[in-house]
């Protein structure tokens, strides 16, 4: 297929939509120095535009295309009608600053969603303001900082994270000016309690913990961890990236967490959009409620209003968070109810354990124990034969599957992180398992086919190093 971009299909004089003509007397133009001399944008007819983007869409792989076991990302199928309700004019076509009395339906939805999320996490209060998980983490850490400062506890400048943590946990801590120390895992993939104990002191503001961990394991020492952190005056922050395994079963609040950030676009079913929009609410216990980011929705009598907590860490966006995403999460919770949510987590956990059992004879399993919603293998057996984990991932593309997350978490050599989610059938899992077995066999017998994979995709492996060294990040028009 010949490669082309918008400027290649554009021709002067074309347009992709029709616009009204001016229906008022034109005004005098402003001074020339304010006006633009030239604007070069491609000009394309509607049909050419549609064909261009349709052709591009076919080069993509989405959950609707097939199995997408990208660990840590919870690529579940999302009900179609939730997309439709988010587009209702009463939700999509409302302005953040229109009279509050004229958006009571939206505020009611937000208020109830706050309550549902607090119930699901076992917390006291929720702010829907963060626009993605990483911003929810930012909110959490800013609240932790404000909490300690308000108590006059100003030497807590350190945040602990496990060695299996997401990169965002560390980047967020750094954004808030904290020092970071890494807590090692033990040989079972749990937090090394002895190390944690030795690291906990009056300088530690919080331990940020993903639970289940990014290894897909639930740390059975959670009560001890909670106690160690709190008895030293620290707080326990949850990264809710893996909530899908706890839905309707276990509450963060019961486990001792002071706050947790959620990813509505993972767990509560809103499609990822090729990388967003997301929504990353934070749920907190009462000790942090006064610090929540603005705004919250409050109810007095039958009226809903926006309020700001007394010691709020401030605003995280120009409006109130990603409302369009909230509508879908709300619809999801109301569609499933408590029992439905429990079925989600149980099915997600069954699916992951099924893959684990079926593949552990073929791939090294660093932690051979019951897993939660995801399982982490290591490609080290294959690597010893000259086949890298990346080769395995790329070969899966030839079988029509999206690859798992690879090389993360960092504590596992050649990590292969599989999260099947609850929305996959046994038939799909079996087909995937068969493909993984064939790949393991090829690693022994025909490694070249893996090293040169993928073979059947629209393009093959790209030269990323050259792309980064000599960046070509845009086309230009109108430059002579």
């Amino acid at each position: 297929m010949e490669h082309y971009l918008l400027p290649d299909i554009g021709r002067p004089g074309k347009i992709g939509c029709s616009l009204p003509s001016l229906d008022v007397t034109p005004a005098e133009l402003p001074p020339k120095e304010l006006l633009r001399q030239e604007l070069e944008l491609p000009e394309i007819s509607e049909v050419e535009l549609v064909r261009y983007f349709t052709a591009l869409s076919k080069l993509n792989y989405g959950v609707d295309t097939g199995f997408y076991p990208l660990g840590s990302c919870t690529m579940k199928y999302n009900p179609k009608w939730h997309e439709d309700v988010a587009q209702l004019p009463g939700f999509a076509s409302i302005h953040p600053y229109q009279p509050i009395g004229s958006v009571q339906g939206a505020l009611q939805l937000m208020f109830e969603l706050q309550e549902y999320l607090a119930e699901i996490t076992g917390m006291s209060a929720t702010s829907l303001a963060p626009m993605a998980g990483a911003q929810g983490e930012l909110a959490s850490i800013l609240m932790v900082k404000a909490y300690h400062h308000t108590r006059g506890d100003k030497i807590r400048n350190r945040i602990l994270v496990p060695d299996s943590a997401h990169g965002t946990n560390l980047a967020t801590a750094a954004m808030c000016g904290f020092e970071i120390s890494t807590v090692p895992s033990d040989d079972r993939g749990n937090i090394d309690l002895k190390s944690l104990e030795s690291m906990m002191n009056e300088e530690v503001a919080t331990l940020t913990l993903t639970i289940p961990t990014t290894l897909g394991l639930f740390d059975p020492q959670i009560a001890e961890i909670n106690q160690l952190v709190h008895q030293n005056g620290g707080l326990l922050c949850g990264d809710g990236a893996n909530l899908n395994s706890l839905l309707g079963k276990v509450k963060f609040g019961d486990l001792g967490f002071d706050c947790v950030q959620l990813n509505l676009h993972k767990t509560l079913s809103t499609p990822h959009g090729g990388g967003g929009p997301g929504s990353g609410p934070v749920c907190v216990k009462s000790n942090l409620a006064d610090f929540l980011p603005s705004p919250l929705v409050a109810k007095s009598g039958k009226e809903y209003t926006f309020t700001s907590p007394t010691k709020s860490i401030g605003s995280l966006g120009a409006a109130y968070g990603n409302f369009g995403v909230m509508v879908k999460a709300y619809a999801y919770i109301r569609s499933l109810g408590a029992e439905g949510l429990k079925q989600v987590s149980e099915n997600a956990v069954i699916n992951a354990n099924y893959i684990k059992e079926k593949l552990k004879a073929y791939y090294h399993l660093p932690y051979d124990r019951v897993c939660m919603h995801e399982v982490v293998f290591s490609g080290r057996r294959q690597k010893a034969k000259g086949v890298k984990t990346l080769d395995i991932a790329k070969r899966l593309l030839d079988y029509g599957f999206h690859p798992p997350t690879v090389y993360f978490p960092l504590v596992v050599e050649e990590a292969i992180m599989l999260e099947p989610t609850e929305t996959e059938s046994k038939e799909t899992l079996d087909a995937f398992i068969d493909a993984m077995k064939e790949i393991a066999r090829d690693a022994d017998e025909n490694p070249e086919i893996l090293r040169t994979a993928p073979h059947n995709t629209p393009i093959r492996r790209l030269d990323e190093a050259t792309a980064a060294r000599n960046p070509d990040l845009r086309w230009e028009m109108g430059k002579t």
Partner: protein
């Protein structure tokens, strides 16, 4: 109970549990201490698609939607015409059910459209490089301020008082995290703090009029600070791009480019800058590359700035952004093209002047600022804007933003191409009758 979203049957589950070697799903939760497991969750009982759709429709009907009202409210979120083609393209599920394009071989659709987005943003703003987008205009501004601090190795941020206060608030949240002070500067103030990392200005500004921007470029660069300009992307169809007047970083709220307002979210943070700051940029960046067979493709690049690689030394913690909103902006700009975007901008401009002139002539009303403006302007009203807005609402009109806390009886009105002459005339008539 069977669910449309759980494809496995009871028999499937039994077979799988048997393979795993446990007798129940609950056994798989054995690592969760017993007392934390299977607790009560108080949530409303589940509803079917039919029932819940009905309920959600009722809930949405309790909101006054802008399609049923004449709307003159802007202040950062704008109602512009969205060609249907935008919804049809972003509604293709190959786009919206994909994840961040880590696997380039099966993500060329997303990657190439981001490359187009970056290119269009650069063309529009006159800047050299753009990223794939941030959460919204305000966080793009905040991250720009942080990067300016890193580039200049200074710890002070200055923002003009004419910048959208919501943006300044968010900048404050972000810089406070780093213990960096935020100073507000009056537009006519001669001196910038000599130790500031950047000056943040908005063009046209929050009140709708154009700043004498060259002065600020000069002032910022004189003290070695970067100039961060917040723009209205639609205005760039007609007005000078920031790249022309020396901006170092350009940020914008991109919602207006083909997206519904949706109570202000999801939005789209546009972020473009000079090439020399490329490796300090936050967020995803897509670059062109060549595959092993010599074919052109696209890939996430310069990722060594990002949290998943660089961890605590990343340029930002951002991960998920607003990819689908950026795709809508891409399709929108492609559909309008150079003449369409110019036409939309001109429609806004001429209609806004038409409305301003008529309202300015009404007894008791006056225009607060005399400078040229684009699509927004401030009117001083004879009574409290809140009262006026209530009266307008009764007549199915959503009035402007009440800014009486900044300007005595001030109302910030916004006119775009979707406001017809009839709507504007009616607004003028009702205002005059009050």
């Amino acid at each position: 109970m069977s669910s449309p979203y759980l494809p496995n049957t009871d028999a499937d589950r039994r077979a799988m549990l048997q393979e795993i070697g446990v007798s129940s799903a609950d056994e798989l939760f054995q690592d969760v201490p017993q007392k934390f497991r299977n607790v009560q969750f108080k949530l409303p009982p589940p509803l079917s698609e039919l029932e819940l759709k009905g309920e959600l429709r009722q809930l949405s009907d309790r909101n006054a939607n802008l399609d049923d009202y004449a709307c003159f409210l802007g202040a950062g979120y704008y109602r512009h015409f969205i060609p249907s083609v935008v919804g049809h393209i972003i509604g293709r599920s190959e786009f919206y059910t994909a994840y961040t394009p880590y696997q380039a071989e099966v993500s060329q659709g997303t990657l190439q459209t981001i490359y187009e987005f970056q290119s269009l943003v650069c063309q529009l703003t006159g800047m050299e490089v753009s990223n794939a987008g941030m959460y919204d205009g305000s966080t793009a501004t905040a991250e720009a301020a942080l990067i300016a601090c890193r580039i200049t190795k200074r710890n002070k941020v200055a923002v003009l008082t004419t910048v959208n206060p919501r943006h300044s608030e968010v900048v404050d949240t972000y810089v406070k995290a780093h213990s960096i002070p935020l100073e507000t500067v009056e537009p006519d103030s001669v001196d910038l703090p000599s130790d500031c990392a950047c000056l943040i200005v908005q063009q046209p500004n929050f009140f709708g009029y154009f700043e004498d921007i060259k002065t600020y470029t000069g002032k910022a660069h004189q003290v070695g600070a970067l100039l961060i300009v917040i723009v209205d992307p639609i205005s760039l169809g007609m007005f000078r791009p920031p790249g022309d007047y020396g901006a170092d970083i350009v940020v914008a709220e991109g919602q207006a480019l083909g997206n519904p307002i949706s109570l202000g979210g999801p939005g789209l943070g546009i972020f473009a800058c000079r090439k020399e700051y490329l490796r300090q940029m936050p967020g995803r960046i897509v670059g062109k590359a060549v595959d092993v067979d010599g074919r052109t493709g696209y890939v996430l690049t310069i990722a060594t700035r990002e949290q998943h690689i660089r961890r605590e030394r990343a340029t930002s913690n951002i991960c998920t952004n607003e990819a689908l909103v950026a795709l809508a902006a891409t399709v929108y700009l492609a559909a309008l093209g150079k003449s369409g975007l110019r036409q939309v901008a001109e429609l806004c401009y001429h209609k806004a002047y038409y409305a301003a002139e008529a309202i300015g002539k009404l007894k008791g009303y006056s225009l607060v600022f005399q400078q040229p403006f684009f699509k927004e302007f401030v009117v001083r009203c004879p009574t409290a804007p809140q009262q006026i807005n209530q009266a307008l609402f009764q007549k199915r009109i959503i009035g402007g933003l009440d800014i009486s806390h900044i300007i005595d009886n001030g109302m910030l009105l916004c006119i775009t191409e979707v406001n017809t002459k009839r709507e504007i005339d009616r607004l003028v008539e009702i205002l005059g009758a009050m």
